[in-house]
C-alpha cells in the first residue's frame, strides 16, 4: 500500500492513471445513461431540469478531463518511457504529483454530487450545471448563484495544474531521455503524437486558466470581466475558452491517432505507410489547431471576414487529418493482416473518425453551421470523433498494451464481443442524432414535445446507449477474467517493432537491463538495411539505481484542493492552510535526498 502511495515509478503511475480514469469513465457513462433515459420518450420525468443540466455538464466535463485525457496519460506514462528506451520519466516525483492532483481534482469536482445540504441548496446534488464550456455570462453569480459553477471553475483549475506539470515532464522526457541512436525521426508515432499533445497542453491550458481566473474574480470578488453592463463582453470568455477548447480537441485525438499508428503496422506486418508524412501531419495539426477556434462561434456573428477566415482554416485542417487516414489505409493495404481485437478497434477508429470528420467539415461552413449550432447534429459529431475516434483508439491501445502492462493477454473472443457490441451500440446511439438535430431538436434541453417528431429516433438512440453499456460490461468481465485466467504474455506477444516489446511483460522496475542502442526506426524488425536488434539480457549485468518513493508529491498535491475549498466555503484560513501544505510539500520535495 505505502509503496503505491509513494511510488514514482512511471509504470505504477500509469496503472494508477488507468484505473482512476476508468472509474471516472464509467461514472461519466452512467451520467450519459441517465440522460438517455430521460430523453427516451417525450416529456420524460426521470430527472428534474436542474439535475439534467448537472448531468450533461458533468458528463462532458468528466469525459474530457477525467476520462479521456487521463486514459491517454496512462499510456503516456506506461508506454512512452518504454518506447524511448528510458528507465523512467525525466521527473519521477513531478509525475506522481500530476497523478495525485488529477485524482484530487476529480474527487473535488464530483464531491459536488453529494454536498448540497452543506450549502443549504435544498437538493443533494449541486454539481456544475453550465455546460462543459460554461458560457459567460450564464456562469456569473447573478445567473448561477449556487456553488455549482464554483466547483467547476475551481476543479478545472486544479486539473489544469496536473496536465501542465505532466506536459513539461513528458516534453523533457521525450526530447532528453531517448536511448542512444533514437533520433527524433526514429521515434514511434505514438511517442511523437504524445510530444505534440504535450506542447498543445502547455500552451492551451494557461489560456483557459486565465479565463477561469477571471470568472473566479467575477464570482467571488465582484470583478466585471464578463459583465455586459460594465462595458465588458461575454465573448471574451468564448474566445478564451475556445482558444483552449479547440487545441483541447487535438489533445484528445492525437494520442489515439498515435495508438492506431502503432497497432496497424504490427497487425499488418508492414511498416507504417509514409511515417514521415504521418509525423509531419501530426505536427501540422498541432499548429493549425490554434487557428480554428472561432468556428465554435459562427453563431455569434463575428462578421463575414472572421467567419470566412475560420471556415477556410477549419477546412484546411481536414487536409493533414485526411492524409493520416489515407496513410493508415495504405498501411493495411497488402499487409499480412491478423484480425486481433486491437486491430478491430483501430480499424473501427478509422471508419468512425471519417464519419465524425465529415460531419465536422460540414459545420466548417458558416451557413450550414448556423443550422446545426446547438442542435443534436453537433452532439452526433463530437461523439463520432471522441467516442468513435478517441475511445475506439484508446481501446485499441488497451487490447494492444494490456499484456505489456499486466503480463496477461485479454481474451480475444470476449474482446470481439466487446468490439462488435460497442461498434453497433455507438452507431445506433449516435447516428440518429444527426437526424434528430437536423429535424430541430436543440441540445441541452431536458425534454422535448411529441410534436417535434423525434420521439422514435430518440428511443433508438437510448437503446444504442444501453448497448454500449452492455459492451463495457463485457469489457469489465474480460478484465476480471484476465486477472486470474488470462493467457500469460511473453515479452512480445504480437511481434511488435518497437522497444517496449524487447523487455519482459510486465517490465522489471528498471525497464531495460541494458539501455539499447538504436539503429533503425523499426528496431525489432528485419528491414532491407537492418537486422533486428538484440533484446536486452534477462538479468542486468550490474546493479541498477532505481529512485525510491516519496511522500512529498502527494503532500504538495493536497494543498491545491484545500486552497480551492477556501473560496467555496468562504473560509480564509483554509487558503493559508492549503498554501502552507503546498509550500511544505514543495520544500520537502526539493530538499529530500532523491537521485534520479
Amino acid at each position: 500500500m505505502k509503496s503505491w502511495l509513494t511510488t514514482t515509478d512511471h509504470k505504477r503511475i500509469g496503472l494508477l492513471y488507468f484505473w482512476t480514469a476508468f472509474v471516472f469513465f464509467l461514472l461519466g457513462g452512467i451520467e450519459a445513461l441517465v440522460i438517455r433515459l430521460q430523453l427516451a420518450q417525450p416529456s420524460g420525468h426521470v430527472v428534474s431540469a436542474e439535475t439534467y443540466n448537472q448531468l450533461f455538464t458533468m458528463h462532458g466535463t468528466t469525459m474530457v478531463f477525467l476520462a479521456l485525457m487521463p486514459l491517454s496519460a496512462s499510456f503516456f506514462n506506461y508506454i512512452v518511457p518504454l518506447q524511448i528506451g528510458a528507465r523512467d520519466v525525466a521527473f519521477p516525483r513531478l509525475n506522481a504529483f500530476s497523478y495525485w492532483v488529477f485524482l484530487l481534482g476529480g474527487l473535488f469536482l464530483n464531491a459536488s454530487w453529494f454536498v448540497g445540504p452543506l450549502f443549504k441548496a435544498g437538493m443533494l446534488n449541486v454539481a456544475p450545471d453550465g455546460g462543459w464550456f460554461g458560457y459567460a455570462n450564464l456562469t456569473e453569480r447573478q445567473f448561477s448563484p449556487g456553488p455549482n459553477i464554483d466547483f467547476w471553475l475551481l476543479g478545472l483549475q486544479i486539473l489544469g495544474i496536473s496536465s501542465l506539470a505532466a506536459g513539461f515532464n513528458f516534453i523533457v522526457t521525450i526530447l532528453n531521455l531517448r536511448a542512444p541512436g533514437l533520433k527524433l525521426m526514429r521515434l514511434p508515432v505514438f511517442t511523437w503524437m504524445t510530444l505534440v499533445t504535450q506542447f498543445l497542453i502547455i500552451t492551451a491550458f494557461p489560456v483557459i486558466t486565465v479565463g477561469l481566473v477571471f470568472l473566479m474574480f467575477d464570482r467571488f470578488f465582484g470583478a466585471h470581466f464578463y459583465v455586459h453592463g460594465a462595458g465588458a463582453t461575454p465573448l471574451l470568455w468564448q474566445h478564451l475558452f475556445w482558444l483552449f477548447g479547440h487545441p483541447e480537441v487535438y489533445i484528445l485525438i492525437l494520442p489515439a491517432m498515435g495508438i492506431v499508428s502503432e497497432v496497424l503496422p504490427t497487425f499488418a506486418r508492414k511498416p507504417l505507410f509514409g511515417y514521415t508524412v504521418v509525423v509531419y501531419s501530426g505536427i501540422l495539426i498541432g499548429f493549425m489547431g490554434w487557428g480554428v477556434w472561432s468556428h465554435h462561434m459562427f453563431a455569434v456573428g463575428l462578421g463575414p471576414i472572421a467567419d470566412s477566415v475560420f471556415a477556410a482554416t477549419t477546412m484546411l485542417i481536414a487536409v493533414p487529418t485526411g492524409v493520416k487516414i489515407f496513410n493508415w489505409i495504405a498501411t493495411l493495404w497488402g499487409g499480412d493482416i491478423r484480425g486481433t481485437t486491437a486491430l478491430h478497434f483501430a480499424v473501427g477508429f478509422i471508419a468512425m473518425f471519417i464519419i465524425g470528420g465529415l460531419s465536422g467539415v460540414s459545420h466548417a461552413s458558416p451557413p450550414a453551421d448556423l443550422q446545426q449550432t446547438d442542435t443534436y447534429y453537433v452532439v452526433a459529431h463530437i461523439h463520432y470523433v471522441l467516442f468513435g475516434g478517441t475511445i475506439m483508439g484508446l481501446f485499441a491501445g488497451i487490447y494492444y498494451w494490456w499484456p505489456k502492462m499486466t503480463g496477461r493477454l485479454l481474451s480475444e473472443p470476449l474482446g470481439k464481443w466487446h468490439f462488435w457490441l460497442q461498434f453497433i451500440g455507438m452507431n445506433v446511439a449516435f447516428f440518429p442524432m444527426h437526424f434528430i438535430g437536423l429535424l430541430g431538436m436543440p441540445r441541452r434541453i431536458y425534454t422535448y414535445s411529441p410534436d417535434l417528431g423525434v420521439s422514435d429516433l430518440n428511443l433508438v438512440s437510448t437503446v444504442g446507449a444501453f448497448l454500449i453499456a452492455v459492451s463495457l460490461l463485457v469489457f469489465i468481465a474480460n478484465l476480471w477474467r484476465t486477472r486470474s485466467r488470462g493467457e500469460t504474455a511473453s515479452n512480445d506477444p504480437w511481434g511488435g517493432a518497437t522497444l517496449e516489446w524487447s523487455i519482459p511483460s510486465p517490465p522489471p522496475v528498471y525497464n531495460f537491463s541494458v539501455i539499447p542502442t538504436i539503429t533503425s526506426r523499426l528496431p525489432r524488425w528485419r528491414t532491407e538495411l537492418h537486422a533486428p536488434m538484440q533484446d536486452p539480457p534477462a538479468t542486468p549485468p550490474g546493479p541498477i539505481h532505481v529512485p525510491g518513493g516519496s511522500w512529498w508529491p502527494m503532500v504538495a498535491a493536497f494543498g491545491l484542493p484545500l486552497m480551492a475549498l477556501a473560496p467555496l466555503t468562504h473560509t480564509l484560513w483554509l487558503a493559508f492552510v492549503g498554501a502552507g501544505v503546498l509550500i511544505v510539500g514543495i520544500y520537502g520535495w526539493a530538499f529530500e535526498p532523491f537521485e534520479v
Binding site: N169, N176, G231
Partner: protein, 197 residues
C-alpha cells in the same frame, strides 16, 4: 546520508541540455501564454470602462518608473549572483543573491503602496473594467515576483548554510531564468499599461 552540496550527477541527455533547464524553458513558454492572455484582455478592454477612475486619472508614472528601474537592477544583481556562484565566489554569491531578493521585495513594497493608494482613490477590482484588468494583470505579476523572492531567499539561506556552491550553479541559473522572465514581463506590462495610455 548528507544531501549537502553534492555535484549533481552529469546525466547523459539526448539534447545535451540539462533536463531541469529544458523543463524550465517549456514552463516559460507556457507562462508566455498566461501573461499573453492577461495582457490581451487588458488591451481588449482598454477604454471600455463606463465609470472612472480611468488610467490617466490614477497611474503614477514617475513612481512606477522607479519600481521598474528597481526590478531591472535586480536582474543585474541576478546575473552577478550567477556569475559569482559559477566561479565559486560564495561570499559575493550570497551578497548578490540577497540583493536580488531585496530589490524584488522593494518592488513588491512599491506595488503594495500603489495598490493601497488606488483603493483610496476609489479604484478597486469591482469599480470598472480598468480596475478588473489592472489588478488581475499586475497582481498575477506581483505573485510571480513574490514566488521569485521566496525562491531567492531560500537559495540565500542555503548559501549561508554552506549548502550552495558551484556544483549547484544550474539551480541558480534556473532561478535566474525565472527571474529574468518575470522582469521581461514587467517591461511589457509597464509599456502597455503605463506608458501607452
Amino acid at each position: 546520508m548528507t544531501h549537502a552540496a553534492h555535484a549533481p550527477t552529469a546525466h547523459y541527455t539526448s539534447m545535451g541540455l540539462d533536463s531541469r533547464k529544458m523543463a524550465f524553458w517549456a514552463f516559460i513558454g507556457s507562462e508566455c501564454l498566461l501573461f499573453g492572455s492577461l495582457i490581451s484582455t487588458y488591451l481588449v478592454y482598454k477604454g471600455r470602462s463606463v465609470v472612472g477612475p480611468y488610467p490617466h486619472d490614477i497611474l503614477n508614472i514617475p513612481f512606477t518608473s522607479v519600481s521598474t528601474f528597481d526590478l531591472l537592477m535586480s536582474s543585474l544583481m541576478m546575473v552577478l549572483a550567477l556569475a559569482a556562484v559559477q566561479r565559486g565566489d560564495m561570499k559575493w554569491g550570497k551578497i548578490w543573491l540577497f540583493s536580488t531578493a531585496l530589490l524584488g521585495l522593494v518592488f513588491l513594497g512599491g506595488q503594495v503602496i500603489e495598490f493601497t493608494e488606488f483603493v483610496h482613490k476609489g479604484l478597486t477590482m469591482s469599480t470598472n473594467l480598468f480596475g478588473c484588468t489592472f489588478f488581475v494583470l499586475t497582481g498575477t505579476h506581483g505573485a510571480h515576483v513574490a514566488v521569485g523572492v521566496l525562491w531567492l531567499l531560500t537559495l540565500w539561506v542555503r548559501a549561508l548554510q554552506g549548502r550552495l556552491g558551484p556544483a549547484n550553479a544550474m539551480t541558480v541559473e534556473i532561478t535566474g531564468l525565472y527571474w529574468h522572465f518575470v522582469d521581461v514581463v514587467w517591461i511589457i506590462i509597464f509599456t502597455v499599461v503605463y506608458l501607452i495610455q
